[in-house]
């Protein structure tokens, strides 16, 4: 795939990030927001791998960044879902616009 221009890969990643941002801002369900955040994380990882392949080849820094990013994403999803389930037990809803306990 290295015949592909670098900017095409960056364009794909920009599109994924924008779609994820739209989802995170527009979804009502907290799990939907989490799904959108996963798309954004994947877009960032594609960017890291593309820049590594085209610009930083001899070192492995880009791959390492993606490995640690995937690790953090795993921890984030586990904790996020635990919090969502806890909120659901408390308030019987996971709609982010109905959870307004902290609103002043």
């Amino acid at each position: 795939m290295t015949a592909t221009p670098l900017s095409w890969i960056l364009l794909l990643s920009a599109a994924m990030f924008a779609i994820g941002l739209f989802g995170a801002l527009s979804r009502k369900s907290a799990i939907g927001v989490l799904i959108a955040i996963e798309i954004m994380l994947n877009a960032a990882n594609i960017n890291l791998i593309a820049f590594w392949r085209y610009l930083h080849m001899p070192s492995l820094t880009g791959q390492m960044f993606v490995l640690f990013s995937i690790t953090v994403a795993g921890a984030e999803v586990a904790l996020g879902l635990a919090i969502i389930i806890a909120v659901y037990r408390h308030m019987r809803t996971i709609h982010v616009d109905e959870i307004t306990e902290l609103k002043g």
């Binding site: 795939m1 989802g23 009502k28 959108a36 798309i39 080849m57 001899p58 492995l60 389930i85 996971i94």
Partner: protein, 169 residues
């Protein structure tokens, strides 16, 4: 692997991502999220990072998507009258996301550079050696983070179950 294969892959990924953030049924959304994850893994393979592709399939498809499905089934919303699945101000998010895409796309052009030959790509053995030499401190920090996240997730879930049982009528 030629560039038209990449265009096809990108179209699949983008349309699956659009479905994942717009479908009303969240189960279907997670299923199309799995398509996004697999397409991303294919992009990694095309960019000569096969180990990252394997990790992507194992962790994103094998763990995160399954975890999302389990959580969805645990918090199944009551089957009443259908409510809108987007917030009232979704158009604001659409404008912001479109503006961000235009900015990022404008920045993406003009930085094209020829890729180094594929023969220079370090193999997985080099990755493992680097991970335990140069990157050993982040590696240990990651293991600490995973342990803390696991204990934290269990603590959050268990504490609230006990409370809700006590306050149950």
């Amino acid at each position: 692997m030629n560039q038209w294969l990449f265009v096809l892959l990108a179209l699949v990924i983008v349309s699956a991502a659009v479905l994942a953030v717009t479908l009303r049924n969240l189960i279907h959304s997670v299923l199309s999220l799995i398509v996004v994850f697999l397409g991303t893994a294919a992009v990694y393979v095309g960019l000569e990072a096969p180990f990252i592709a394997a990790v992507q399939v194992l962790i994103y498809v094998g763990a995160i998507a399954i975890l999302l499905l389990f959580a969805l089934m645990l918090v199944r919303a009551k089957m009443g009258q259908p409510t809108p699945h987007v917030t009232g101000s979704w158009w604001l998010g659409f404008i912001l996301a479109s503006a961000l895409f235009v900015i990022l796309a404008a920045a993406a052009f003009g930085i094209d550079r020829p890729a180094p030959p594929a023969a220079d790509v370090p193999d997985v053995a080099a990755l493992g050696t680097d991970l335990l030499r140069q990157w050993v401190m982040p590696f240990e920090a990651a293991s600490l983070l995973l342990t803390a996240a696991m204990i934290g997730a269990i603590a959050v879930a268990i504490e609230l179950r006990r409370q809700s049982r006590r306050s149950a009528p």
